[in-house]
């Protein structure tokens, strides 16, 4: 079997300042499907096309930002193996009981040197996407409701020791480097894009003095046309757009960045190439980083680079 170990990004839990305002935003504007609420008051969503019960979870808190980001692994034996490997590597891990998150099995949680909490899990209930597993149609009505992304795709995290984080993902969890931006000293990475699959990125980091910050959670769309449609929907709903629609040089994705009602940035994203573990990483230098990040106007943008939650 080809894809073993870590399969894909699975769920992310974000803090919001006003729960019902955010539920309305993610349901009606982003077009996620609400799949449940738990006793702690957390609200669970998935995209219309995702089959597992949830991929995006929000809770009300006094601060915005990220609680944790999780990857689904192949099976329970793989989960146990990664837990042991992470401990052998010198990290503390914590087991969180099945059912703590709705319809989700046991989770292994650990903190990486950028200050973020990362989780692994093997089981989440398949609730389906509304299409049959036998001779299905191509899409459902939910595919047209709001921005209606296909999947929760990746996250960009900001924190200090991105080299330490990279080592864990590469050496223990089997990720590989796809692209990186290198500072003027030609040694230090400013930013790294990592993949556990054939996607151009499943996870990215930018070096940043404060730990545990999140730059954005990305949702994948089907086409550039859908990215433009997303921009229209954002305009109609007075969503604060950070930048776009535009294209990245890095990963080649077409994109819009915008903020949710609590100031958490999200991306609606399409494209990017397919990479494989034998991929030779692409390197960007600081004098071309403007083009790397925003391919069309080739300039850095202060808000995009410095505003995080």
């Amino acid at each position: 079997m080809a894809l073993t170990g870590v399969l894909r990004p699975g769920h992310v839990q974000m803090r919001v300042l006003d729960l019902e305002e955010s539920v309305k935003f993610y349901r009606d504007v982003v077009g996620l499907v609400e799949t449940g609420r738990d006793k702690q008051g957390r609200v669970y969503f998935k995209t219309w096309d995702e089959r597992d019960h949830n991929s995006f979870i929000i809770r009300q808190a006094a601060t915005a930002g990220l609680d944790f980001y999780a990857f689904k692994v192949a099976d329970k034996a793989t989960l146990d193996k990664f837990d042991a490997d992470l401990r052998a590597y010198g990290l503390k891990t914590e087991r969180i009981a099945a059912g703590d998150l709705l319809e989700t099995g046991e989770r292994v949680r650990f903190q990486i040197p950028t200050g973020h909490l990362i989780e692994l899990y093997a089981e989440k209930t398949d609730v389906g996407n509304g299409l049959s597993y036998l001779n299905p149609e191509a899409w459902t009505g939910l595919a047209e409701k709001g921005i209606a992304p296909i999947r929760m795709d990746h996250i960009l995290l900001y924190g200090p020791d991105i080299d330490g984080a990279r080592k864990i993902f590469e050496d223990v969890l089997g990720f590989y480097l796809v692209e990186h931006v290198v500072l003027e000293d030609d040694k230090t990475d400013l930013a790294i894009w990592l993949s556990c699959s054939t996607k151009a990125h499943d996870l990215a980091f930018v070096r940043h003095p404060e730990p545990g910050k999140v730059h954005h959670v990305a949702f994948q769309l089907e086409s550039w046309e859908r990215v433009l449609r997303a921009a229209d929907i954002m305009a109609m709903n007075k969503v604060n757009i950070d930048i776009g629609p535009t294209r990245h040089g890095i990963t080649r994705g077409t994109t819009i960045y915008a903020f949710d009602p609590s100031g958490n940035r999200f991306e609606t994203y399409c494209g990017g190439y397919a990479s494989y573990p034998d991929w030779q990483p692409i390197k960007w230098t600081m004098d071309e980083v403007g083009r790397g990040i925003f391919y069309h106007n080739r300039k850095l943008n202060d808000t995009f680079l410095t505003v995080v939650t």
């Binding site: 300042l17 006003d18 006094a62 601060t63 915005a64 930002g65 500072l183 003027e184 000293d185 230090t188 400013l190 070096r207 940043h208 003095p209 604060n240 903020f259 949710d260 009602p261 609590s262 100031g263 958490n264 940035r265 600081m286 980083v289 850095l300 202060d302 808000t303 680079l305 410095t306 505003v307 995080v308 939650t309």
Partner: protein, 110 residues
């Protein structure tokens, strides 16, 4: 809705905006400058201001950037404040420095 006169003490800039727009939207919609603009959702803290005079409506803003004491002292985020009278404010927040220089500096220190 009423129009209110907003004065930014730092620059002496003043403009009139509608009460249904928050302070940051009001400024940006007129193409005015003075208050740094970030996430516009109360999460990032970039647009922190001190309301020197005037009244306003407010909504939840991140405790990471506005403490209870701040809030009591009218040190708030411009994106979560809706004027209910003429207002005078001072700018407290700022945009992070240029990324290349900041990160380059950090890297050379490590």
């Amino acid at each position: 809705m009423s129009n209110y006169l907003i004065t930014i003490e730092d620059s002496g800039e003043s403009y009139r905006q509608r009460g249904e727009r928050n302070l940051l939207e009001g400024m940006a919609a007129l193409g005015r400058k003075g208050i740094p603009s970030g996430c516009c959702g109360g999460g990032c803290g970039v647009c922190k201001v001190e309301i020197v005079s005037g009244s306003y409506r407010k909504r939840a803003m991140s405790r990471a950037h506005v403490s209870a004491e701040d809030e009591a002292q009218h040190r708030v985020l411009a994106c979560r404040i809706w004027p209910t009278s003429d207002l005078t404010l001072k700018v407290l927040g700022k945009m992070g420095k240029n990324l290349c220089r900041e990160r380059g500096g950090e890297a050379s220190r490590s």
